[in-house]
């Protein structure tokens, strides 16, 4: 089934999903052996080098006007997320209100990029976000484990899309990936992408379970080849989640993919990013690794809940000149 998606022009949705523009890549998804050959043929990641590079990029000092820009940019890149078993419609509504106007006392604060919820709460989010320009994202495909039949996963996606989700966050089958059944993973992403229709697809690699940076690079390429609009680090339910070396490798993957195919895809970092300082470091990494064309919400996102409060507190600090406290932001 995979080859059907590699014919140029068969897919009407944005981004040319599932059909690499470069003819040399059209062949790699022919069967599991060639996909394996391609993924294992990617140059290995120098782990020590990646860690050193990520650490070096974290030393940049971003101050004053640059910091103000970075904070506002980071706010506009946040996927404000609530993925708890205890989520209620009321909690989603209040989260949506916060997403549209993160700081009611300061209208110049930008809105966040999206609100991310479970599929059954999508309708509530869509209703609350109507007219705000904030997107509704939904996790699907038996999130967070991904342990369900393809049919169930697709049903999950259909549900979310029908309820109005404009972005779908899927999880890959890590078991299949780690045991080398790359084509199964590929076909699943392709099927989910098709089920998404016009909705953007973010493919969660769950890098904390992929163990090595080589696997992260292979999974990134696999997801990009299959048509994911974004590759995303984690579900947020597994530690380690987003770490600087992992982010570096994923940014390199989208950069290289764009260089080979001309197709610009995004990266979403999720899990464990709680402070403005970390967020700004990641923005530096995006700029230095992928390039400034990635520095916007269409191609780079933070999946977070507590990060937004810290961004707002730092924003207050810049506007009032006094250090801020948690009393001045909402508890979500």
């Amino acid at each position: 089934m995979s080859t059907a998606f590699l014919q140029p022009g068969t897919d009407g949705s944005q981004g040319g999903a599932g059909m690499p523009a470069s003819p040399e890549l059209a062949d790699v998804t022919r069967d599991n052996a060639s996909l394996r050959r391609f993924l294992h043929g990617l140059s290995g990641v120098d782990q020590v080098g990646a860690e050193a590079r990520a650490a070096a990029l974290a030393t940049r000092s971003i101050k004053t006007t640059a910091k103000a820009w970075a904070i506002d940019t980071a706010i506009s890149m946040v996927d404000l997320t609530t993925l708890e078993g205890a989520d209620t419609h009321g909690k989603v509504r209040s989260l949506c209100a916060k997403a549209a106007r993160p700081d009611p006392s300061d209208p110049s604060t930008p809105a966040v990029a999206a609100v991310c919820v479970y599929p059954d709460l999508v309708a509530t989010a869509v209703e609350s976000l109507a007219g705000t320009g904030v997107q509704t994202a939904s996790v699907a495909t038996a999130f967070p484990s991904g342990r369900a039949s393809l049919q169930t996963k697709l049903h999950d996606v259909h549900d979310a899309v029908r309820a109005g989700a404009t972005e779908i966050d899927m999880v890959i089958d890590r078991g299949a990936f780690l045991s080398g059944r790359y084509l199964d993973v590929f076909d699943e992403i392709v099927a989910v992408k098709q089920a998404c229709g016009a909705a953007h697809l973010k493919v969660i690699l769950e890098t904390g379970e992929l163990v090595t940076l080589d696997s992260v690079r292979r999974a990134s390429w696999l997801a990009l080849l299959a048509g994911g609009d974004f590759i995303k680090t984690s579900t947020g339910k597994v530690t380690p989640a987003a770490t600087p070396p992992v982010a570096l490798v994923m940014l390199q993957a989208v950069r290289d993919f764009a260089a080979r195919t001309g197709d610009v895809r995004g990266v979403k970092l999720a899990g464990g990013i709680r402070t403005t300082k970390e967020a700004v470091r990641y923005l530096v990494m995006v700029n230095e690794t992928a390039g400034d064309r990635w520095l916007n919400p269409h191609t780079f996102r933070f999946g977070a809940s507590t990060l937004l409060n810290d961004l707002l507190q730092q924003r207050h600090k810049l506007t009032t000149g006094a250090y801020d406290g948690p009393d001045y932001v909402s508890i979500d």
Binding site: T320, G321, A322, Y323, G325, D327
Partner: protein
């Protein structure tokens, strides 16, 4: 916020620096190499240097160099306030009896290192040995005195109130939150203990800016605190320039109360104004005598009265 402030950390006016203590001597054969102490900050239960990397020389009353102390920056202050905020639920939630025991334990630790503190106070304040020992004794006694108040204060100022209705109505003092203190500038140890202990005993967590010119004895005190069951972050100590740090402390929106005992009279109005933006409690007594009987005024400065109307008999 001041972008450039005079730190006021200059050498005392009448100085005749004693070079021999400032310059490292070459040890003669068989002589021990001097093991000098690094005086650091005390934030969140750890002893970091200033994030700014700064330090400043501290002199004795005769103008001889005693040591270099860490010169805290506004970011150290910010870290100290977050540490204090983080420690607040645990400390305020501890039983009054437990807090009293911990304060008493601090007195025990201090008593055991009496000679060390007497020597440091003597050097810092230029006192004779017996005068310094008296200061240390008074500081130990002050911890004990306030430790005793831990489970008694609520009985004195709280209680049931007579109301004309079917309610059991009672009031109880609760801690204000994170208290920022500017410690007295002259009395390095006793003055510090006299302002810090009453804020701690009722369940507040504190950020203290030590005396600029005489910070060394309380850095050693922090070492005693770290080994006396006082949870990390309950007391955070900054050394450096009061002039530089105090405006940031006063304006910090996550600080709930401000004690200006050690602030210069001329600076108090500006600090109180900065504090007013977030309606902090400001305690700025006109007089302060560390040797006087303390009384319970300081305990009352950093508590909020909670009154509960409990329906009865319906």
């Amino acid at each position: 916020m001041p972008s450039k402030v005079k730190t006021g950390l200059s050498r005392p006016a009448k100085t005749t620096p004693n070079k021999s203590t400032a310059v490292a001597r070459q040890p003669a054969t068989g002589e021990r190499i001097a093991v000098r102490k690094t005086y650091k900050l005390y934030i969140g239960g750890a002893f970091p240097r200033s994030e700014s990397g700064r330090s400043y020389p501290v002199y004795d009353r005769a103008g001889a160099l005693l040591a270099h102390a860490a010169q805290a920056s506004r970011k150290d202050l910010r870290d100290a306030v977050s540490a204090a905020r983080k420690a607040f639920p645990g400390w305020s939630g501890a039983t009054a009896y437990n807090r009293g025991q911990i304060l008493y334990r601090i007195a025990e630790m201090l008593e055991g290192r009496r000679d060390q503190f007497a020597a440091e106070v003597a050097a810092a304040e230029g006192l004779s040995d017996s005068q310094a020992a008296a200061q240390v004794d008074a500081a130990v006694d002050r911890w004990v005195w306030y430790a005793g108040w831990a489970d008694k204060y609520a009985q004195v100022v709280g209680g049931s109130n007579p109301v004309a209705g079917p309610y059991f109505n009672f009031s109880t003092p609760e801690p204000t939150g994170v208290v920022g203190l500017i410690a007295p500038q002259d009395s390095s140890l006793l003055g510090f203990v006299s302002v810090v202990a009453p804020a701690l005993v009722t369940g507040n967590t504190v950020v203290v800016i030590a005396s600029s010119q005489r910070p060394l004895p309380v850095v050693s005190l922090a070492e005693a605190l770290a080994t006396s069951d006082l949870p990390g972050g309950v007391l955070n100590l900054l050394t450096g320039s009061v002039t530089e740090l105090a405006p940031w402390l006063a304006a910090h929106r996550d600080v709930n109360a401000l004690d200006l005992t050690g602030a210069e009279t001329g600076a108090r109005v500006a600090l109180a104004e900065a504090a007013a933006d977030t309606v902090k409690r400001v305690f700025a007594p006109a007089e302060f005598d560390p040797l006087a009987e303390p009384g319970i005024a300081r305990l009352g400065a950093f508590v909020e009265t909670k009154t509960v109307w409990h329906p009865t008999g319906v």
